[in-house]
């Protein structure tokens, strides 16, 4: 290798990597704020969907299932919704905002993770005031396509309505009061039911009954 080669190689690498890096940095700078806002909106919409009758969903605290950050929320129903007009200080335009008077807890929502077959399954579950499951939904997962991803199907998710800590258990085959495992995806079914939802409901019970007592 001659000296000329060495210089050419250096220039080659520096120029191409700097250009490549700049292009990627530019795209990232343009897209990441939009991505962040959209991800937040999606989460709010998902929470709203868990408890459609609630007027407001407030975060109560956080926990760490499988060392991941997850939150739990109270679903509030307002005793009265008062519409107040607020003047926007920047534009001077009048904006209508709803004020929640005398909010009542109608249930709770917990975010959780279950260790599945090939991924951590990100779950939301909503319960009523007696900690009976109302609805669950799968936010994200990386389970086997065609087998484990059946956990997203309605026939599996609908089984959760009316379940309590005692009946959140996976059974292979027909079951009248527990959760029926998906054929070929018992691990994923268990992850959602026992690791995810059940632990979430137990957490809600612990945290919230303590609050009531204290």
């Amino acid at each position: 290798m001659t000296g000329k080669d060495m210089i050419k190689i250096t220039i080659n690498l520096v120029v191409i990597y700097v250009i490549g890096g700049l292009i990627m940095a530019f795209v990232y700078a343009k897209t990441s704020p939009i991505m962040f806002v959209k991800a937040k909106e999606e989460k709010e919409a998902a929470l709203k969907l868990m408890m459609p009758e609630a007027d407001k969903i407030a975060s109560l605290g956080a926990w760490e299932p499988h060392e991941r950050h997850a939150e739990y929320y109270a679903a509030l129903k307002c005793g009265e919704l008062k519409t107040v007009s607020i003047k926007d200080e920047k534009t001077g335009a009048m904006k209508e905002e709803k004020e929640c008077i005398d909010p009542q807890d109608i249930g709770y929502i917990v975010e959780g993770y279950g260790k599945g077959y090939s991924s951590f399954i990100h779950i939301l579950a909503s319960v009523d005031k007696e900690f009976v499951v109302k609805k669950i939904s799968i936010l994200a997962h990386g389970e086997t396509p065609g087998l484990g991803d059946e956990i997203q199907k309605d026939y599996f998710l609908n089984q959760f309505e009316g379940k309590t800590v005692d009946t959140l258990e996976v059974i292979k085959g027909e079951t009248p009061d527990k959760i029926q495992a998906i054929t070929g995806a018992t691990i994923s079914s268990r992850a959602v039911t026992e690791d995810g939802v059940k632990n979430g409901v137990i957490l809600l019970k612990e945290k919230l009954s303590k609050e009531v007592q204290g």
Partner: protein, 208 residues
């Protein structure tokens, strides 16, 4: 590679059949087995590959006189990773519903031997327009293979196509498991080689 320069149409045909990534060259088998258990996944990955392969071939071909031969490999890697990152970011921002379905497969493209191989074998030695045609043809060949493999795997394994059930139940569950991927690719590869040898006088995959 043949000595005679090929026309653009021949290049596309070559990518689709003569040097089909999966069935003739037997490269990029690993990601293709991972995602072909449903037609939707297979087609989504196939389309992403068509795009990345064409763009990478074009870029490498444009830069071929500037790249020093000794460092071509890190530069190919950067170009491939750069395109994949940009597509990944753009889709995550502007096409979120689709991204949720195929986001994983977009990232998988970085590790594609076929894209790397075409940059090395073809794009770094040929003119821009030929390289674009070659990349496009190779991508189409890959898409074609994805469609064929996932068609059989989803139909036999789940009794469905594109997620719509055709027969009830799961007739041959093994076909959508990883083992079924190897079976399907192996049998189809053999089948296409047999067709080639029987009807077109080819020598099979080993003769390419």
């Amino acid at each position: 590679m043949s000595q005679k320069p090929k026309s653009n149409l021949e290049l596309i045909k070559n990518g689709m059949f003569g040097e089909n990534t999966i069935f003739r060259m037997a490269i990029s088998l690993c990601p293709s087995i991972a995602v072909t258990n449903g037609m939707k996944n297979g087609v989504a990955l196939g389309i992403s590959v068509v795009f990345v392969q064409t763009m990478v071939n074009m870029t490498i071909s444009l830069m071929r006189k500037f790249i020093h031969p000794k460092i071509r490999i890190p530069i190919f890697m950067l170009v491939i990773a750069g395109y994949v990152t940009i597509i990944d970011l753009l889709m995550a921002t502007y096409a979120r519903p689709i991204y949720k379905e195929i986001g994983l497969y977009i990232q998988i493209i970085v590790a594609f031997a076929s894209i790397f191989a075409r940059a090395e074998v073809f794009a770094s030695k040929n003119k821009v327009w030929s390289s674009i045609c070659d990349g496009f043809g190779m991508g189409l060949g890959f898409l074609l293979a994805m469609i064929v493999i996932s068609f059989f795997r989803e139909l036999l394994g789940k009794g469905a196509l594109f997620g719509y059930p055709i027969v009830s139940g799961s007739p041959l569950l093994i076909m959508i498991l990883p083992a079924g991927g190897f079976l399907a690719v192996g049998l189809l590869m053999g089948f296409f080689n047999w067709i080639d040898m029987r009807f077109f006088g080819g020598k099979g995959a080993s003769g390419v």
